[in-house]
Amino acid sequence: MDNAQLLISGLANGCVYGLIALGFVLIYKATEAVNFAQGDFMMLGAFVTIGLTNTEYMGLPFWLALPISLMIMGALGYLIDRLIIRRLFGESQTAVVILTIALGFVIRFAAGLIWGHEPQTLQNPLAGKEIRFGGLVLGMEDVAVIVVTILLTWGLYVFFSKTKLGLAMQGASQNQLAAYYMGIPVKRVQGFIWALAGVVAGIAGILFAAKGSVDPTTGLLGIKAFAAAVIGGFGSLPGALAGGLIVGVIEPFASRYVAAGYSQIAPYALLLAVLIFRPHGLFSQVRVKKV
């Protein structure tokens, strides 16, 4: 396989890691807690879409299933904040973290119960198609993943910098007390952030299931996305995406050029190096941290 092709498929994987990492960072910035169920949200988003669109389940048209599944994921994120996380208001962040780990178990268990434990793929219009570009043969899914991620990134950028709610989300995560003083309903805004994290996880899940297979344990790759978020500097959205891309690209090259058995640890070796040499991450906004 050509290096360029390795690069493209690595980037496509990296986009999925990056989107999960984005979810980690969104919630971390809003609530200072890490949602360790973010990878499982992704897996759930994949299964919800499979359940809606695959012929052996509901068999809805693909383009109809997409918005429904994203709405379900957004509502789920919102409700988890509303019904569970908000109850822990005033508790330590450790309590929230432990709760999200438990939530991950519940989601994996529920997904296994509903959709079984066999790996499944999302039936989609792009499946199996290829693009020839120069000497390269690219999977249509890989290209779609990259394009969708670019569009989503652009959309998030516009949302955060141009809309009132986006600005309020930034404000609430930079200085929560000041946000209260300005009359921003901080708790409601945090609910929207959980909803957004749910939607982003849903998109990641759809992309993942379109280019490979998912089973209920797939969400565990969230740990790689977590590494990506740390590599990117946990407070920065562009950093999270970049961290995801770096991890995604390192993986195929490591498995190609590094002895098997060592290659799998490449992302974590990088994580370790970053933590030692740039403890705030590669793309950190250090000033954001106040305490």
Partner: protein, 257 residues
Amino acid sequence: MNEPILRIRNIESFYGPIMAIRGVSLDVHPGQIVSILGANGAGKTTLMKTVSGVMDPEKGRITFDGQQIQGSEPHKVVQKGIVHVPEGREVFPLLTVDENLSLGAYTLSDKGQIDHDRDLVFSYFPVLKERRGQEAGTLSGGQQQMLAIGRGLMANPRIMLLDEPSLGLSPLLVQEIFGILKRLNDEQKMTMMLVEQNANAALELAHHGYVMEIGRIVMDGAADVLLQSEDIQNFYLGVQEEGARENRRWKRKKTWR
């Protein structure tokens, strides 16, 4: 005299078991500047937080424009027209000056009103206009204070609660900011409740003053009367030592911005 716009009656506020406000009552009349003086730890900030809804009182009533507001959510209080400009500026450090101002207007939706308010802020604080695209965290302390006040104005408030706007600023800057507050009061008829340790400057500016000690009001009166009072003179001398400590505290705080 006209009815008070803000009427505080027998407020008690707690941090856990610690009683920080022990039955405070005070009035602010429309168009007035009311100063609250008191040493560090007297409970001035807590009183303001209780008015703006960031803290809920255990007991007592707060009436704004005839409506009881004690225990309301902060965003409801802002919508009613009370804005709290907090101690230590508390700007949004990674947002630009313009974005900070926009968030000040979060409770408003009338675009024309917001643009008008922004022009008003820029007319009082021209430096904010010059630096409108700059991240707030990179502004100087004085500029951040101006931004905090300007951001408060963007809520189009009927009363501003100003918590130690002079904290950590050079005497020249304090003079400038107090001058602007005076103009806002004269020209915009802005009602203000001003917390200060700099008693002299605060009483020069104010119409009425209250002195707080460990959670209680221990003295109040017309500002010019208080200025002459011997107790205040002594109190004021006592505050000067505090000033140095405040400066140090601000320096420490500033490192994380």
